[in-house]
């Protein structure tokens, strides 16, 4: 049997069902990562590590009068869900939280969560300079959790319009806009 014909048939079926589902608008898949709640016992980071991560993420994206902080939008849970899906990343986050705590002890002799915001920023800035790769993990996942979050999307008036939904309304192109350009003589080199 030629398995590729089978793949091709499967592809054709998938195309037809995709078009049908898309037309019905039911394919707006929820963001699994942001949704579920974890208990401490079934997570790859312990309570202290989660607390370190929460305080660090909140310095990366803090709250202001209009916007929530990263952890208020569920950023720690977001990471825990990713670690569940991609357990290979766990050692990276454990190194990150260990590094933050080490640095905190070195700079201020205290746990990261006990520092004031200014000292926490100093700890993170040092890590940003000395361990840019590790710092990038913290920054990238904080931004990712934040800017894929439904409540943040609402606050910044962003509608993601995934392809499973109907798209935005847009005015059709108005050809009159080109009236001037249409009268420009040919601009290309004739050869």
């Amino acid at each position: 049997m030629n398995t590729n014909n089978w793949s091709r048939r499967k592809f054709t079926k998938a195309v037809i069902s995709a078009q049908a589902l898309l037309a019905s608008g039911v394919l707006a898949l929820p963001l699994a990562c942001a949704e579920s709640n974890k208990t401490e016992s079934d997570t790859p980071l312990d309570k202290l590590q989660q607390e370190t991560l929460k305080f660090a993420m909140d310095e990366i994206i803090p709250a202001n009068d209009k916007m929530p902080s990263a952890s208020e939008t569920g950023s720690v849970n977001y990471v825990l869900n990713i670690l569940e899906e991609l357990p290979d990343l766990s050692p990276l986050f454990i190194s990150l939280t260990d590094k933050i705590e080490d640095q905190s002890l070195q700079l201020s002799g205290s746990a990261f969560s006990k520092l004031n915001s200014e000292r926490r920023i100093a700890v993170l800035t040092t890590i940003e300079q000395t361990e840019p790769g590790l710092f990038k993990v913290l920054k990238d996942f904080t931004y990712e959790s934040y800017y894929t979050n439904d409540s943040v999307h609402k606050l910044i008036s962003y509608e993601p319009h995934p392809t499973g939904t109907t798209g935005p309304e847009m005015e059709p192109f108005d050809e009159q806009l080109l009236d001037r350009v249409k009268n420009i003589p040919a601009m290309y080199t004739k050869i």
Binding site: L22, L29, T148, K182
Partner: protein, 530 residues
């Protein structure tokens, strides 16, 4: 199809491979295509999910770069040079059109004659007018949207579907171009604005680079391939070609490939057509060494892999007071300007560039350069949703020092040598980019921008020039019909065969060339020989 019956073996099922396979099957040839990737299930597209942007920023499955995607079917491409290129491509049925934006401009007639007109690089051995009927035919096959009548280009027929909407950002750019009295026009797009054949009209989501399950975007798995297969073409997916084989007279015999299970298979055909793109094609030719061809196939003059072109670019952003909603609308480009396309010696460089009004990705992407910490929200609020992008597509002239070679360390999942792409900007390109930055800033300011941000120069996903077409055996790898010099039944049909890069996106020209080459293959190597 029985292995002994094959007229034409096509390698690579992307834009060019699909066109060649369809055209030759339609004429009556027995065609088998070997493709290292598989069919992409449209229900697996990231564009279906609100978190689609994570695929841009994170390594893994749908990243634009094969080096960050690391699927089994991807091969590593290492980089070098003063301006190492960011490599983008997709390996599957449909090839890089799975990711592409569908911006569909044509070359200008002058692009084919740069030596004659400007004294640079080389002339193509064919002219715009040789390709013109094929451009037209291809536009109808895929249902291009747009508007005819642009004074910067030769006339073309009414576009099969009307232009896509401009949106707030497009209309704002129009104000800038109008104020300065510069040329602009709505882009031709490989995205249909109305239902066309059995494909649904674009619904304007703007997630096009993350897969278009609607089929509005012309990926070749939805356009040419279904027609080719209906006519009898066969695609063997998960089949990675290791080398093209030759007989003792120096004719191409077929290919040796790894199947899905990693077993070595051999296939024979009367004609072999390589469509693996501007990196995959030289890689395969260079990997096809034999006693007769110790430096790789078609490489007698050492030109395979040389003259690599990628279209240098700047992604320039204007920041406006008002919301511009640049993320709303199809992720192609609503409009372009070719005010600075043809050579004007007073500018200090030869040839020219196009400016594309470019939509932006969503908030995650736009936040990437925003500083963390106390000022984060204030800084983010300045740019989102207030940005308008202008992308420069600078004419990339060939340089022998820009090249694709085999990497001496890295290999793919089958142990085949990876590719290495070396690229440095020429002085001409640097001057051109400086001019483009100045002019982009001028038009964005004229449109009302309060600030213009110019990130460092980078490159587009356009892979060209590495098995160039030429007027003589000395200056090229293939002749005017895409046939490899010295090998009567081996053809290279993709962006590798470009003699020069022009200042426009390449795929309409790749597809037109593929239609023309298929006619020539049929006349000279299949039908003519039967």
């Amino acid at each position: 199809m029985n292995n002994d019956d094959i007229d034409v073996l096509v390698i690579g099922a992307g834009a060019a491979g699909a066109v060649v396979s369809w055209s030759l099957t339609e004429k009556g040839a027995k065609v088998v295509c070997l493709e290292q990737g598989g069919w992409v299930d449209p229900l697996s597209f990231p564009s279906l999910k609100p978190d689609y942007e994570t695929h841009l920023t994170r390594e893994g499955d749908f990243n634009l770069s094969p080096n960050l995607r690391n699927r089994k079917e991807d091969y590593p491409v290492t980089t070098d040079g003063e301006n190492p290129p960011f490599i983008m491509m997709f390996n599957a049925v449909g090839g890089s059109t799975i990711h592409w934006q569908g911006i569909f401009p044509r070359f200008h007639p002058s692009d084919f004659k740069v030596k004659t007109l400007d004294g640079v690089a080389d002339d193509w051995p064919i002219s715009y007018w040789d390709l013109e009927p094929y451009y037209e035919f291809n536009d109808k096959m895929i249902g291009v949207s747009g508007l005819n009548g642009d004074p910067a280009n030769p006339p073309r027929t009414k576009r099969p579907t009307p232009p896509l909407p401009l949106g707030k950002m497009g209309n704002t750019l129009v104000k800038g171009f109008e104020k300065l009295g510069w040329h602009w026009w709505v882009n031709d797009h490989g995205i249909i604005s109305k239902q066309y054949k059995d494909r649904a009209a674009c619904m304007l989501h703007g997630k096009c680079m993350f897969g278009c399950p609607m089929g509005a975007k012309a990926t070749t798995d939805r356009t040419y391939w279904p027609l080719a297969i209906e006519k009898g073409a066969e695609i063997r997916t998960w089949s990675r070609v290791k080398e093209i084989t030759v007989d003792n007279t120096g004719k191409a015999k077929g290919a040796i490939y790894f199947d899905k299970e990693g077993n070595i298979q051999e296939i024979k055909a009367k004609v072999v057509v390589v469509c693996c793109n501007g990196i995959g094609t030289p890689r395969l030719l260079l990997n096809s060494k034999s006693n007769l061809f110790p430096d790789g196939l078609g490489n007698g003059n050492g030109l395979v892999g040389k003259n690599f072109m990628v279209h240098p670019t700047h992604f320039i952003n204007g920041i406006f007071e008002e919301a511009m909603d640049g993320h709303i609308g199809p992720m192609g480009s609503p409009l372009f300007s070719q005010e600075f396309y043809e050579t004007d010696e007073s500018r200090g460089f030869k040839r020219g560039y196009m400016l594309l009004g470019e939509r932006t990705f969503g908030p995650l992407f736009q936040a990437q350069d925003i500083p963390w910490g106390k000022n984060h929200h204030a800084e983010f609020g300045k740019i989102f949703p207030h940005q308008i992008g202008l992308t420069v597509v600078a004419d990339d002239l060939p340089e022998e020092t820009n090249m694709v070679t085999l990497d001496d360390k890295e290999v793919d999942s089958n142990g085949i040598s990876a590719a290495k792409a070396t690229y440095s900007l020429s002085e001409n390109s640097k001057q051109m980019l400086n001019h483009a930055v100045e002019k982009s800033t001028e038009v964005l300011m004229a449109a009302g921008a309060k600030e213009v941000i110019v990130p460092p120069a980078t490159n587009l996903a356009h892979l060209m020039g590495t098995a160039r077409m030429g007027t003589s055996e000395k200056n090229s790898v293939v002749d005017k019909n895409n046939k490899v010099h010295g090998i009567p039944n081996l053809y290279v049909v993709d962006g590798s065969s470009f003699t020069t890069g022009a200042g426009v996106n390449p795929t309409s020209t790749i597809m037109a060339l593929a239609l023309r080459a298929a006619d020539k293959i049929w006349e000279n190597a299949v039908h003519g020989k039967s």
